[in-house]
Subunit: 555 residues, 2 copies
């Protein structure tokens, strides 16, 4: 059997090694038009930022290594131009010698990856000071430019995963960075009450973030890009511009032989990574995945998914039993001293699907406060009907990677909210808390589904705007209440609640809020036990409400 | 309903608050003979070490707070002496005023906790410079002694969780610490190939660790303990002695009314935390738990379990649906710059149960090497028959808390080894790796069950000692081989394996080993695919073997 793989980064090399694991007989060949094989392009900005000592570290393996270690033939700088799938022959060109070549196959794997997309105004323009950050070769070019031209002012176009990483690293080496994002907030795939905090993190660390604005015009000076002009008529000048506005799957070659794309415009695959064409597979950034919860196709080009798809395809082709079960879209980014992570569905995605959900936003501690613990913001979404966890978003200085992976693991097993309380997680004072945020989240979501309902900031506004009369109770200290509160709220500090229980009119529609939600939760239980029936606790408390609707608070 | 709780630390207060969450009508009273309510006694040594700024931080809540916030009556320094369960009356004494009192109840909860045990030679002896570390009041005494007497040389008796924590903290404040352990290694509840590394960590950080030795004689001088003499006839002198040799459940009061103990000598409970006596519950350190995997009783007094048991009992008593599902015994300790964690069954526990298991020891990376990643040692045990994960032990400088909790979460859902590969865990270069150690562990265990068997160091010795002829292949570089290797091994460096494939006699009984096991795993697959049938890879490689059997290596 001859396996031919087009593309030699994470997915392609994983497929090759996966196939070799099961078979010594298979002949395995990889073609890649890039200079490097199996490069860690996702870490390029850490070289620029000096975290990685040399860019060569991102290419630890060579074609020779693949041959010696795995008997896999890797041809870099070889571009496949045409495929005759009826005869199972590929035609290509050696980009170095310009010689043409051809090769045959029994099994063809598309691992052609993705390419950086740029906004329309950047297309077909070429400036020596405009870069995308995608592969190691691009990183070498950028590194060289920085060494030679020593830029000081950088404009990063795009506030996604890569744009933020680049913004951080260039700030860390002393550049003055402005980051522009077309949508309201950075990482806008998350819910806005999460991503608004990311904007704060950027500003707090000296990155100038500008949301809701897109580049519409480029101003050239001495063959370089001098400034960009935006839809809001703002000008951003710089001596270095990084465009990081996303990627698109490199599907052209696959489409040329009739490979079908999915609704995401990436290649449609099944759980065996097969395409619609017999003997043709697709893995990694060129393929679409499907969501482990919704089972719907999603395009989420991540290295973890690429490696997984590759490994499975290599196994399937050589007779193995591995199958692709879909992904939760778990992702994480480190941004200065904060970590932002997400798994499963966002609130907006869940609502867009029409699911009846409950949403908890809560402030937790990474460790006990007396051990130096820091706040962690957890937003969790569960399905009211099935009581299954649907998604989580987390921001904090420490422990975020642990929490997101615990949630992702539980969700892989279709955890119900009540399952989370049962987890036996590790506690020691320097690291964690005796009641883990995961357990607290599960318990609170369970109660929210079973009689102690939460209300999100947006839902609260809806309630208030409907004009129905509410008794709004602010549970914070007198001082905090005086600073600002919801219009119409009465102040009953938590410590005085029990004294005033009999004075609260039980038949009113009650809204409770505390600072971050936890006292509200306790007060809600007390009032429910006292016979109140229509009583909501503001999820995340007034602090979470304030991030989105500070203009609705009064003094 | 009147709920009376004896004991006001983690379990007792959780039960009280849990009950109050469901009911405003219940009258809830806690009696505790200690000075403090709900103290974080588990963090006492961090006060001594200066990590926690003041010992008062360990008692954030008071009796007044419980009354005001939760309408719970807490009486500290009140000892219950006698219970008449027929009449449902308790008799006690106010330890401050020495006044006797009595109280009645409908429901009685034993949350009487555990007490430090000391070796026989310490019993009934009283020295002003000998301390146990259990509760905050004991911490105050120790702190006062250290301030007054400024001890320099400390002998810690006991190398368990608390003994190690104390050894670390006292070393950190400049004392000269010797730690004695009756068994071979510290934390001997773990497997010896794990706990031997903990001895190294102690030595590396300046703690003198002495295993396999017990104190048999105490030598007094000026009313203080001056030195201890051990079974091995060694003398350890010091001006401060900490005895941390474990705890025993305080069951006396419960036994006095006929409450049944389990095989662990702690109170036997069911999933509702009920004892054998109607209307009597037991929670926390006084109760035994059961293992979530084996369903057998275990005594594992941990704060996490105490809080969970308390919460569930409070819920059950007031009509809730929470049930106790058992524990995995997940625990973690931070020791200088290393973290040691464990969940589920150890190898020795699994073998003692007669389970047919597969054991993987593997060196993993916390992050990619070029991002500054460090080695993490993962030992994982799976059931060959059910293919379920049974247990994991992990040691490393970072990421250990994340890994143990992911394993514990997966195991709560009875994960099979093949499930681990499917997890969608979070990757970003500063934090993790694209193929997570959890995924790698699952995949390797799966292969070990399905045709690519592993052999543990002990199993290898057994094989070698049986006298059957083996072809032992050392896959490391020539230089490493020359330094030391298994007797009779031939050296075929990994990079030369493919060149030599035809020369390897396929019908031999083959043992492969590499440095830490990973190359052995690849080589094993290659040789299996080439037709070898009897071929084992040494789990953890020769480096893991060396930690236990360095004397069996030759030059």
């Amino acid at each position: 059997m001859k396996i031919l793989i087009i593309g030699g980064v994470s997915a392609g090399t994983s497929a090759a090694i996966g196939a070799r694991r099961n078979s010594e007989d298979a002949q395995i060949t990889i073609y890649d038009r890039d200079v490097d094989v199996n490069h860690a392009g996702y870490a390029t900005h850490y070289v620029i930022g000096g975290v990685v000592e040399s860019i060569d570290k991102l290419t630890p393996t060579s074609s020779a290594w693949f041959k010696q270690r795995h008997n896999i033939d890797v041809h870099t700088k070889h571009e496949i131009l045409k495929i005759d799938h009826e005869s199972k022959i590929v035609y290509g060109v050696d980009l170095e010698t310009e010689e043409e070549f051809q090769d045959d196959y029994d099994i063809l794997i598309f691992a052609t990856g993705s390419s950086a997309t740029v906004p329309p105004v950047f297309r077909d323009k070429k400036f020596s000071n405009v870069f995308t950050v995608k592969n190691v070769q691009g990183g070498r070019d950028l590194q060289k430019y920085i060494e030679t031209d020593q830029p000081e002012n950088v404009v990063v176009v795009g506030g996604g995963y890569i744009g933020l990483g680049v913004s951080e690293q260039l700030t860390n080496v002393g550049m003055n960075v402005s980051t522009l994002e077309f949508l309201d907030y950075p990482m806008s795939q998350l819910d806005s009450d999460t991503s608004i905090h990311i904007a704060d993190i950027l500003e707090h660390n000296g990155v100038n973030f500008y949301g809701s604005d897109g580049v519409v015009e480029l101003v050239e000076e001495n063959e370089k890009l001098a400034k960009v002009i935006t839809a809001n008529d703002k000008e951003y000048a710089g001596d270095l511009f990084i465009v990081a506005t996303g990627v698109r799957p490199n599907t052209e070659l696959a489409q040329s032989i009739g490979v079908e794309l999915g609704s995401s415009r990436a290649i449609k695959i099944n759980e065996k990574l097969e395409t619609n064409i017999p003997d043709v597979y697709a893995v990694g950034d060129v393929a679409e995945a499907f969501h482990a919860i919704t089972k719907e196709p999603i395009y989420l080009p991540l290295a973890t998914t690429a490696v997984k798809m590759g490994r499975i395809a290599g196994d399937v082709i050589t007779g193995g039993q591995l199958r692709f079960n879909g992904v939760l879209g778990t992702s994480v980014v480190r941004l200065f001293d904060q970590t932002i992570a997400s798994t499963g569905l966002t609130e907006k995605a869940a609502r867009a699907k029409g699911l009846d959900i409950v949403v908890l936003t809560n402030s937790n501690l990474s460790r006990l406060r007396f051990m130096g613990g820091e706040d962690i913001l957890v937003k969790a979404i569960a399905d009211k009907e099935t009581e299954e966890m649907l998604g989580v978003q987390i921001i904090g200085a420490e422990g975020v990677d642990r929490l997101i992976d615990v949630f992702a693991t539980a969700m892989t097993f279709r955890a119900k909210v009540s399952d989370l309380f049962q987890l036996d997680l590790a506690f020691t004072p320097p690291i964690s808390t005796p009641v883990d945020p995961v357990m607290f989240t599960g318990m609170t979501l369970f109660n929210a589904i079973h009689g102690a309902p939460l209300v999100t900031p947006a839902e609260l506004n809806e309630k208030l705007d409907q004009g129905k009369e509410h008794l709004i109770i602010d549970l914070r200290a007198d001082k905090d209440f005086k600073e600002s509160h919801l219009e119409g709220a009465v102040n009953i500090p938590m410590d005085e609640l029990r004294k005033n229980l009999d004075e609260i009119e039980k038949d009113k529609n009650i809204i409770l809020y505390s600072s971050t939600g936890e006292n509200g939760y306790i007060a809600q239980e007390t009032l429910l036990n006292k016979g109140c029936e229509d009583i909501y606790n503001l999820s995340g408390g007034i602090e979470n409400y304030r991030t989105l609707y500070s203009d609705r608070l009064v003094k």
